[in-house]
C-alpha cells in the first residue's frame, strides 16, 4: 500500500473586524486550511490520517466556538486546490467490507461536526473540489467559489462509487433533487463532466462567485457580511417527497437506457437519492456507509481505478516510446490525399501543431473539397466560440492544397491518408520517396494494413511509421503509433512527438493487423455477425452485450462505421489473422443492397433502434442459435482469445495498453477497466 500523502488541516484565527461595517464585539473566524504541502501541482486528497486531522481540527474549533472564542468556522484549501476528494489510491487497496465501512464512517463523522456546529460554517472553495472535497463544502452552511476553477463536482459514479460522505443527502438539500441528479448521476455518466465555479454557482451548489485576484480576502469579507446580516442566502424549498421520488425514477429510466444495469454505482446513487426524499440525515448517512462499503470492494470500482490510473498517468507517458530527445523537429507537414480523413488530419496539424500543412490529391476538385472541409470546420469552431478570429485565420492560412506531388518535398513529415489498399499506399510511398529527403518521416494512417509491407520496397524504410488516428479525428483522444520492422528510433520518437503535439494520447503498438482497437472491435462485431449467421435472433444479438455497458450496441457501431467499411476491415483481418474473423454472407448482401442495420436520421447513435428485418439477410450457417448469455460468453471468450494472441504476438508490451486503447479509442467504460480486468474477473482470461 502506498503511504498516504497526508493533507494537513492547519488552523489559524482570522479577525474579521476589518471587514465589518457595523457592530462591535469580537468577530473571529477559525480557519482550517487543507494543505498536503505538495505545492500547486498535487491536489489535496483525504485519506484516513488526513481525515482524522480534519476531524480533530474542526472538533477543536467547535470547542472554542462553544467557549465563545470564535464566532464562525471556515474551511479552505491551498492555492488552486480545495480538496479533490478521498485518497483513491488508498481506497483502492481496501480488501474487506469492514475496512470500507471505516472509510465511509470516518468522513461522515468529521463532516457531521461541521453540520452540527454551534456557529455558522463557511467553505471557501478556491480551487478543485471534487467528491469528498465537494461534500466537505456542502457540509458547511455557506460556500464561496473562485471564478477560475474548472473542476467541481461529484464524480464518484464515474469511478464506480457514490458520493458517500453526505453527498446524496446534502446536495439535494442545497440545490434540489433535479439538479442533484444532474451533478451526482448525469454529469459523471456524461464523460465525467465537471463544473466551473460560475456553473456551480448557477446550479446553487455555491453561494457566491469571487474573482481569483483576492479570493480569500473577499471570501472573508463576504463571510463577514453574512455573519452581520448584511447578506442573506436563500435555498430552494424541498419539493414534496412524492415529486422527489418521481424525479429520481425518471432519471433511473434514462440511466437504464444507457447502462442496462451494467454497473452498480449509478443505481446505488439513485436509490440513495430516493431515500434522501425522507430528509432523514442519519438514515441517509447510514445508507451511504453501506453502499460505499459495498462499492469500495466491488470489481467495478477496482476496474475503474485501473482505468483512472491508465487515463491519468499511463496515457501521458507512453510505454515503449524512445526518449523524446531522439525526435526530429516537425515544422511542416505534407498529406497525401485530400479526402475526409486527410482533411481532418490537416485541420488537426494546423490547429494543434501550428505547422503549415499541404494536402495533395489527384485533381483540383478533390483538393478543393478537402480545403473546403477545413474552412467549413474552422467556421464551425468559430461559431461555437472555441476559436477566435485570429486562430481561425491562422489555421486557414496554414492549410494549402496541391495536385503536384513535388510540392510535398521539403516537408518534415508526410502522412498518407489515401484509399485503404496496400498496393495504392505502396505506390504513393514510392512516388513520395522520389521527391522527399531521406530524413523526412513517412507516416501512414492505415487502420489495418501492414506498415512493414508498405515500407518494404522503399530505399529508406527506417523512416516509415504508422500514426493511426481515429475517426472523428478532432474528438478521439487516441493515436496508435505503429513500429514497423525497419522503423528507427528517430522516426518512432518523432511519431510520438507528433501525437503529443496534436494533444493526443499515444500507445506503442507493433505492426500487427488491426493493431489493438480495431482488432478487438472487429473481433467483437465478427462474433455477433457470426452468431447471426448461426441463426441467433437479431433481438438477442442486440441485447446480449448490454451487461457490458458499452457506449453503443454492435448494430449501432456497425452502422456508424458503415457496413461497407466494416466488411472491408473484416475481410482484411480475415486475410491476415484467419477465419476467427468470419465470413458473413449476410453482411456482404446488406452492403450490396445498401441496407442499414439501424433506423436513424443523420448520424446513427447509441439509441438508434435496430431494424429487425435485417434478420432476413442472416442464418447462412445452420449452426446453433444462441441465447443472450451464450452470445455474451462467446464474445467474452473471443475477446480473451484475441487478447492472449495479441500478447503472444507482442502487439503491446502490457495488457494495460490494450485497456487504455479500448478506453480512449473505443470509449469502453471504466467499470470494465478497459477490457482485461472484466475478462479476468469473468474467468474468460
Amino acid at each position: 500500500m502506498s503511504a498516504e500523502r497526508i493533507t494537513h488541516a492547519l488552523v489559524r484565527d482570522v479577525d474579521l473586524a476589518p471587514f465589518r461595517a457595523t457592530g462591535t464585539g469580537p468577530l473571529v473566524l477559525g480557519l482550517v486550511t487543507l494543505d498536503n504541502g505538495e505545492g500547486f501541482t498535487k491536489p489535496n486528497t483525504l485519506g484516513p490520517a488526513g481525515m482524522a486531522e480534519l476531524r480533530s481540527a474542526v472538533a477543536g474549533l467547535i470547542e472554542r466556538a462553544t467557549r465563545g472564542e470564535i464566532q464562525a468556522i471556515g474551511v479552505t484549501g491551498k492555492p488552486f486546490h480545495f480538496a479533490a476528494g478521498a485518497d483513491l489510491k488508498g481506497a483502492a487497496t481496501i480488501k474487506t467490507e469492514a475496512d470500507a465501512l471505516g472509510i465511509a464512517r470516518a468522513g461522515h463523522d468529521a463532516y457531521r461536526l461541521l453540520l452540527d456546529a454551534p456557529v455558522p460554517t463557511f467553505a471557501f472553495v478556491g480551487g478543485v473540489a471534487l467528491g469528498g472535497g465537494m461534500e466537505l463544502a456542502l457540509s458547511c452552511s455557506y460556500r464561496t467559489v473562485i471564478s477560475s476553477v474548472r473542476n467541481l463536482g461529484l464524480p464518484e459514479v464515474a469511478l464506480g462509487l457514490i458520493p458517500g460522505w453526505g453527498g446524496t443527502y446534502l446536495a439535494p438539500g442545497v440545490v434540489g433533487i433535479e439538479k442533484a441528479l444532474e451533478v451526482i448521476v448525469a454529469n459523471p455518466l456524461r464523460n465525467n463532466k465537471q463544473l466551473t465555479g460560475p456553473a456551480a454557482a448557477e446550479l446553487g451548489l455555491m453561494d457566491v462567485v469571487l474573482e481569483p485576484a483576492d479570493f480569500l480576502a473577499e471570501s472573508l469579507r463576504w463571510a463577514t457580511a453574512v455573519l452581520t446580516g448584511a447578506v442573506e442566502v436563500t435555498r430552494p424549498a424541498p419539493v414534496p417527497a412524492e415529486r422527489w421520488v418521481a424525479t429520481v425514477e425518471a432519471a433511473r429510466a434514462q440511466v437504464d437506457a444507457r447502462l442496462h444495469g451494467a454497473a452498480p454505482a449509478a443505481y446505488e446513487a439513485l436509490d440513495l437519492l430516493t431515500l434522501s426524499a425522507q430528509r432523514d440525515r442519519e438514515a441517509s448517512f447510514a445508507a451511504e456507509d453501506a453502499a460505499l462499503a459495498r462499492l469500495l470492494i466491488s470489481p467495478e470500482f477496482k476496474a475503474s481505478m485501473h482505468a483512472f490510473e491508465l487515463t491519468t498517468s499511463r496515457a501521458k507517458r507512453p510505454v515503449g516510446a524512445p526518449p523524446a530527445e531522439q525526435a526530429r523537429p516537425v515544422r511542416s507537414v505534407g498529406i497525401a490525399g485530400a479526402g475526409l480523413m486527410a482533411s481532418q488530419l490537416a485541420l488537426l496539424f494546423a490547429r494543434r501543431m501550428k505547422a503549415p500543412v499541404i494536402m495533395r490529391d489527384l485533381d483540383d476538385a478533390r483538393v478543393e473539397r478537402g480545403l473546403g472541409f477545413v474552412s467549413a470546420e474552422v467556421d464551425k469552431l468559430k461559431a461555437q466560440g472555441r476559436i477566435g478570429d485570429d486562430e481561425a485565420n491562422r489555421i486557414t492560412s496554414l492549410v494549402t492544397g496541391t495536385t503536384d506531388l513535388a510540392d510535398l518535398a521539403g516537408r518534415d513529415l508526410v502522412i498518407e491518408a489515401v484509399f485503404e489498399e496496400l498496393d495504392i499506399k505502396k505506390q504513393v510511398f514510392a512516388e513520395l520517396e522520389q521527391v522527399i529527403s531521406p530524413e523526412t518521416i513517412l507516416a501512414t494512417n492505415t487502420s489495418a494494413l501492414s506498415v512493414t509491407a508498405m515500407a518494404a520496397d522503399l530505399q529508406h524504410p527506417e523512416r516509415v511509421v504508422g500514426l493511426h488516428f481515429f475517426n472523428p479525428v478532432a474528438q478521439m483522444p487516441l493515436v496508435e503509433v505503429v513500429r514497423a520492422a525497419a522503423t528507427d528510433d528517430a522516426a518512432y520518437a518523432t511519431a510520438f512527438a507528433v501525437a503529443k503535439a496534436c494533444g493526443k494520447s499515444a500507445i506503442a503498438v507493433a505492426d500487427r493487423p488491426g493493431f489493438v482497437v480495431n482488432r478487438l472491435l472487429v473481433r467483437l462485431l465478427g462474433e455477433v455477425l457470426g452468431s447471426l449467421e448461426d441463426g441467433t435472433a437479431v433481438e438477442t444479438a442486440d441485447a446480449a452485450l448490454r451487461p457490458l455497458g458499452l457506449p453503443m450496441g454492435p448494430f449501432q457501431l456497425l452502422q456508424l462505421v458503415g457496413p461497407a467499411v466494416a466488411k472491408h476491415v473484416l475481410d482484411t483481418l480475415r486475410d491476415n489473422l484467419g477465419e476467427r474473423y468470419p465470413t458473413s454472407p449476410g453482411l456482404d448482401r446488406m452492403v450490396d443492397d445498401g441496407a442499414p442495420f439501424v433506423t436513424f436520421e443523420g448520424r446513427p447513435n447509441a439509441g438508434s433502434p435496430v431494424d429487425p428485418s435485417i434478420a432476413s439477410y442472416f442464418g447462412s450457417r445452420s449452426g446453433h442459435a444462441q441465447t443472450d448469455d451464450e452470445l455474451l460468453a462467446r464474445v467474452r471468450d473471443a475477446l480473451a482469445e484475441e487478447v492472449r494472441l495479441m500478447m503472444e504476438e507482442k502487439v503491446v508490451t502490457d495488457t494495460a495498453d490494450i485497456d487504455l486503447a479500448m478506453i480512449l479509442g473505443a470509449g469502453w467504460p471504466f467499470h470494465l477497466g478497459g477490457i482485461t480486468p472484466y475478462l479476468q474477473r469473468t474467468g474468460a482470461l
Binding site: R12, V14, F19, L31, T33, E211, A213, D214, A217
Partner: protein, 402 residues
C-alpha cells in the same frame, strides 16, 4: 516658477499592512506581485465612482526588479488585478523613491493632458529580494573613487552623517527612534493607521491561510533606556542601531491620481493637490541629506518658504537622516508637525513602496487640519538622492474631517 499644466490631485491611496522581511514574516510565503495586486484592487474597490477604463496608465515601482518583482510590474499587476486590458502599465525604479517617482511622473502626464487618471504605487519584498542582491556595480565606481565602498551600505552612510554633523548625536537619534515608536502606537490606538490598510490574504504552508490586517514591524514600548545597549552593526563603536534604523520590510502601496477636472466631473473627493516636486543628487556617502536640497528646490518651484509647510512626512530610513533635515531647516527634533504618526523606524520601509505611504499619511493628517494649507513628503534615496513633493490641503479653510 510654479509647475505648468492642469491641476493634479491625489484622490486616494492605500497600502498593505507591512510585514517583517524574514523567514517567518507576514509575507514570507506571499508573492510581491500578489501584495501589489491586493492593494490595487482595494484602491479601485474604494473608488467605485472611477470607471477603471479612465485609468490611463499604471506605474508600479520596485527596487529589485527581478523574479516576482520583474516583468514590468505596472502591466502585470494591472492584468492580475483585473484592470481592463486597454489600461497600460510600466515599472519604474528610483530605489527608495520609486513610488514617489511613479507619482510625480504620472502627475506630470496628467498635468500635460496625456492622461486623466493613473495609478502610482510601489512594492518591495525585501525578504525575497534583499537590497543589492544580484547587482553588479561597475568597478569604475571604486577604481575611480566615484564613491567610497560604503556608499552602497545604507547603514554606513547613516554613520557617515553622524561624522559629518557632530551635532547629530546618538542620544538625539535614540530619542527620535523611541518617539517614532510611541507616535505610531498612539496613532494606531487612535484609529489613524488601520483605515488605510488593505487586508491581504497570506498563504502559509505551515500555518495555513491567514489575513494580514496590521503592521508587523512596530515595537511598541521601545524606550531610550532599552536602546542603550544595542549593537551598532554598521561600524564598531558607531551610533546607528536597529532601533534608529527602519527595519527590512515587505509591503506595497498604491495611489489614485487624477486631474482636478476629472475628480470634479466624477464627484471624487481629492485628498491632496500636487503643488511642486523636486529630486536632487547629493554625495552617495551621505545619501541621507538628500531631502535637504530636494526640499529647497521644491519650495523654490512652489514659491513657498519652509515656514509655509504645516505638516511633514519624512521617511525615516534612519533617525540621523531625519535629524539632519530638521537641523538644516531649523526645526526641533520633537516638532509636532513632523511625522505625527511615527515613521519608517516603527512601521517599516519597503523601499520603493514607501513614497506613497508618506502621502496617504499626510492626506489623513491634513483632512483633520483645515487650518494647514501645505504639507510635504520627502525621502532620501540610495546612491545619494533626495525627493520632495509639496502638497496643498484641499480641505484648507473648510470644516475638519473625521
Amino acid at each position: 516658477m510654479p509647475l505648468l499644466g492642469r491641476d493634479v490631485v491625489l484622490v486616494d491611496a492605500v497600502r498593505s499592512p507591512f510585514g517583517r522581511a524574514k523567514a517567518d514574516g507576514l509575507y514570507a510565503h506571499t508573492r510581491a506581485d500578489d501584495i501589489a495586486v491586493a492593494v490595487v484592487r482595494d484602491l479601485l474597490r474604494r473608488n467605485p465612482d472611477l470607471p477603471p477604463e479612465h485609468i490611463g496608465d499604471v506605474g508600479i515601482a520596485a527596487t529589485s526588479q527581478v523574479g516576482d518583482q520583474g516583468l514590468t510590474l505596472g502591466r502585470t499587476v494591472g492584468m492580475l488585478a483585473g484592470l481592463p486590458r486597454q489600461v497600460p502599465g510600466f515599472a519604474i525604479d528610483r530605489m527608495c523613491a520609486g513610488a514617489m517617482t511613479a507619482t510625480t511622473l504620472l502627475a506630470c502626464q496628467i498635468a500635460v493632458g496625456a492622461l486623466d487618471a493613473a495609478i502610482a504605487g510601489g512594492v518591495e519584498h525585501m525578504g525575497a529580494h534583499p537590497l543589492g542582491q544580484g547587482m553588479e556595480p561597475n568597478p569604475r565606481f571604486i577604481s575611480e573613487r566615484l564613491v567610497s565602498p560604503d556608499a552602497l551600505v545604507m547603514g554606513a552612510t547613516a554613520e557617515n552623517l553622524h561624522d559629518r554633523y557632530p551635532a547629530l548625536t546618538r542620544d538625539r537619534a535614540d530619542a527620535f527612534g523611541a518617539a517614532s515608536q510611541a507616535k505610531y502606537a498612539a496613532a494606531l490606538a487612535a484609529g489613524k493607521i488601520t483605515p488605510d490598510l488593505v487586508p491581504v490574504a497570506v498563504a502559509d504552508p505551515e500555518r495555513g491561510w491567514g489575513l494580514a490586517t496590521a503592521d508587523e514591524p512596530p515595537r511598541p514600548g521601545t524606550t531610550v533606556e532599552g536602546m542603550a545597549g544595542l549593537a551598532t552593526p554598521f561600524r564598531d563603536g558607531g551610533r546607528v542601531t536597529a532601533a534608529t534604523s527602519s527595519p527590512l520590510t515587505d509591503g506595497a502601496t498604491a495611489a489614485l491620481l487624477t486631474s482636478a477636472d476629472l475628480a470634479a466631473e466624477l464627484g471624487l473627493t481629492p485628498k491632496l493637490r500636487l503643488v511642486s516636486y523636486a529630486y536632487s543628487g547629493v554625495e552617495p556617502e551621505v545619501m541621507g541629506v538628500g531631502p535637504v536640497p530636494a526640499t529647497r528646490k521644491a519650495l523654490e518651484i512652489a514659491g513657498l518658504d519652509i515656514a509655509d509647510i504645516g505638516m511633514f512626512e519624512i521617511n525615516e530610513a534612519f533617525a540621523v537622516q531625519v535629524l539632519a533635515f530638521l537641523d538644516a531647516f531649523g526645526i526641533a527634533d520633537d516638532d509636532p508637525r513632523v511625522n505625527p504618526y511615527g515613521g519608517a523606524i516603527a512601521v517599516g520601509h519597503p523601499l520603493a513602496a514607501s513614497g506613497v505611504r508618506l502621502m496617504l499619511q499626510l492626506a489623513r493628517q491634513l483632512a483633520e487640519r483645515p487650518d494647514v494649507r501645505y504639507g510635504l513628503t520627502t525621502m532620501c534615496v540610495g546612491l545619494g538622492q533626495g525627493g520632495t513633493v509639496i502638497w496643498e490641503n484641499p480641505h484648507y479653510g473648510k470644516e475638519a474631517q473625521q
